[in-house]
Symmetry: C2
Subunit: 452 residues, 2 copies
């Protein structure tokens, strides 16, 4: 694809410099919106404006949606009011709202003054939903049918009104008060027998979501049922919008990325890495680095307190990194598994005991394996004394057990208390496990080596 884009850029460049606009337009028309956007990211802004004007309106709008925010802003500034109005007419409501959310105030003002009054009302409604709600990602352009229509009438209705709709494949049946009564698909309409009516084909058990529902839950529901769209209703079951599968994919992808960032002690951000400044990246990373640097003081204090043991057996210091790393790794393995399981809905709070018991089982096996291998290594390679080997290996066992137990209980507990498991659990597990591992280490050393 990258290859293809480069060839296209060259070709378009030739046409542009030769003012061969008919040929330019012909080439652009054959492209997908996402590819046009890639091209627009690569050429100068004055060329973008020229190329943009050569596109058919609907394709122009679709390509516009795919552009990065800064390009969108430049284009809007270059547009005349008439051009802006044309593009805004073509945009789906969810894309319009996304755009408004990302633009600076003066651009928003121009956008708002170039949409119809009706649209302005809808935009204001959607903007009022919290940014992680179903309401914030829904679009209001859907096909609505009435129950008394025949399949033929319904298809005719779709043909007449479908042009503006984000999807025509899933249609919703509403009554005179916009209450959601049923759902059916174009597939049902095409494949049903002659004489069928909307009422006889539609499914009345509509899987729906509410405007205030978490958008991630909504995306997972769409995924679970393999739907192309999910209806969004208000508290009185009035249909107010739909969430389409392409937006659900974006929500799921963003959620996974955010979870990874939180696990890696990064403060998530909307922009992707290549578009953030050094300062923004610093802001994402410094909070946890600072906090965890400070909290590592406790671990330091534990070591200072054990000075006596350490000066008697300096060799004990050499195993501190191994114990801390193994604890961190063992804890991270569980917490990541559990956090992802909670995100995907595979694990819920009621599973906590099953998870705990399983983790205790796993940690016994993992701990024993590590302890035995390490014991052999300590005796035959490092040639330390039997007592030292015992101290290290028993600590290893305890560390793995503690790490696995903390690693599973912390995220489940955080979720239960309404906190984000990824934020609350990942960063603290290392600190807690480090501290407990070192405390055990020095305590066991005291006992087995008869110090103090």
């Amino acid at each position: 694809m990258k290859q293809k884009i480069e060839e296209l850029l060259e070709q378009l460049g030739t046409f542009l410099s030769g003012h061969r606009y008919a040929e330019l337009s012909a080439v652009l028309r054959t492209l997908e919106p996402a590819d046009i956007a890639l091209i627009f990211e690569e050429v100068g802004i004055s060329d973008v404006v020229v190329l943009f004007r050569l596109l058919p309106k609907d394709l122009a709008a679709e390509a516009f949606v795919e552009l990065e925010t800064d390009r969108q802003q430049m284009l809007i500034r270059a547009f005349s009011d008439a051009e802006l109005r044309e593009i805004m007419e073509e945009l789906y409501m969810d894309d319009t709202v996304d755009l408004i959310e990302e633009m600076p105030a003066n651009v928003v003002k121009r956008i708002i003054s170039n949409v119809s009054e009706e649209e302005r009302g809808v935009i204001n409604t959607i903007l009022r939903f919290p940014s992680d709600s179903a309401g914030s990602i829904m679009t209001t352009e859907f096909v609505s049918l009435r129950r008394h229509m025949t399949a033929e009438e319904a298809l005719a209705h779709i043909r007449r009104t479908g042009y503006d709709k984000e999807t025509i494949y899933t249609c919703y049946v509403i009554d005179g008060n916009r209450h959601l009564e049923g759902v059916l698909t174009v597939r049902d309409l095409l494949l049903c027998g002659a004489g069928a009516t909307v009422e006889t084909i539609m499914n009345e058990q509509v899987i729906r979501c509410f405007t205030a529902d978490d958008k991630r839950e909504v995306a997972r529901t769409l995924d679970k049922y393999d739907f192309l769209a999910l209806p969004v209703v208000d508290s009185e079951n009035r249909l107010v919008g739909i969430v389409t599968v392409d937006d659900a994919i974006d929500v799921l992808t963003d959620e996974a990325t955010e979870d990874m960032e939180k696990m890696a002690k990064i403060v998530p951000m909307e922009k992707d890495y290549m578009h953030t400044t050094v300062f923004e990246t610093w802001k994402q990373r410094i909070p946890w680095l600072l906090l965890l640097m400070i909290s590592a003081t406790f671990t330091g204090k534990i070591i200072t307190a054990a000075e006596e043991a350490l000066s008697a057996y300096v060799v004990l210091t050499a195993f501190i990194p191994m114990l801390m790393d193994t604890g961190g790794n063992a804890g991270g393995q569980v917490s990541v598994t559990v956090i992802r399981g909670l995100s995907l809905g595979e694990i819920s709070f009621s599973d906590w005991l099953r998870v705990l018991l399983k983790e205790i089982g796993v940690s016994v096996f993992c701990g024993l394996t590590l302890a035995v291998v390490n014991f052999v290594k300590l005796i035959f390679i490092d040639r330390v004394s039997m007592q030292i080997a015992f101290v290290v290996c028993i600590t290893l066992l305890i560390t793995v057990l503690v790490a696995k137990v903390v690693g599973c209980l912390l995220p489940i507990g955080a979720k239960r208390l309404g906190f984000d498991p990824a934020v609350m659990a990942s960063p603290f597990i290392t600190t807690i496990v480090d501290a407990l591992a070192l405390l055990s280490y020095f305590r066991i050393a005291q006992i087995l080596l008869h110090i103090g």
Copy 2:
């Protein structure tokens, strides 16, 4: 939803014990396949068989696909050959292949003997594709049209043949030799003017993929273009199948989960957490724990070698955990960002210098912030000497810089060399950064504190 399932289970239980099969069937028919599967996971196997037989064939097949492997296996064992044949007829080819891949040999044998000879050929073809290829997740049930058809004829063709197809919304235009010539949607067919033909509506610039393409690339292409399906062609551009958006979502979700597991030093596995045994979980986790335990020996050796410095300034030991943790955290932040960026296609190899320069910038800012805060803390709270504070803070600066540089170069380099960045980078960063941090620490201590 969980609430609803529990109510349903109670209701179904009452009907079952009262042998009220008509009512049972009526309730089941209103449910989505995914919910029927949830119910089937909760009731005893003999009840599942009874309930299953009450479902219309198509719904039964769709619910069957959603079941966990062990339930599927039990059901197949309970089926008569005739029942099995009916279900297999209803399954889409990609689901049949998934099923065969997960069943034990004797069950596979029974399945194979209950599909038509034609299907057997297709199954064998799909099974031959590597498990991470587009070929392995494609289905062969798609709508194909000819270019000379009118829109009306095309719709009639879809009505006639659509029942068996996984999606009817995206249709592919092929010639007499099955070469892919164009693509169009049911939306195009419904919304086009009278007299249009397939040839005039179709888009000839078909975005396609090859059977051998990586399934993750294919899923991302579908996502990028917001398609509902992507055609899969062989090396001679013959259309052999399609990948649908629901399968693409599963691929993207699994990829994110796998990346998280690899970052957390877990060997990924197909089964989800709640369905793995303790032994299986142990097998996923022990390899990296063992390897990293052994590799932490190097860090231990560095400490042992610095015995002289440590015994002269015991206080230096107290800062080892903080330096190691900060290095690990700083490195993890970059590597996770870069690995995810590589996965999503936001970062490519050619960006390596931009990424490196940015990370050097970020690490200077992060390092300075941490060093200054820590310096103040060391002097005013821990009350260590000025020299010790300098040793710790300079090491901190170097550690953050090293961590950020290693954390970005290792994944990009791994990707370039054809390795999996998540597997190759995450586990080793800590070990490398730990070692370099401690080496700098003791070297700087030697110089500033005039040891040895």
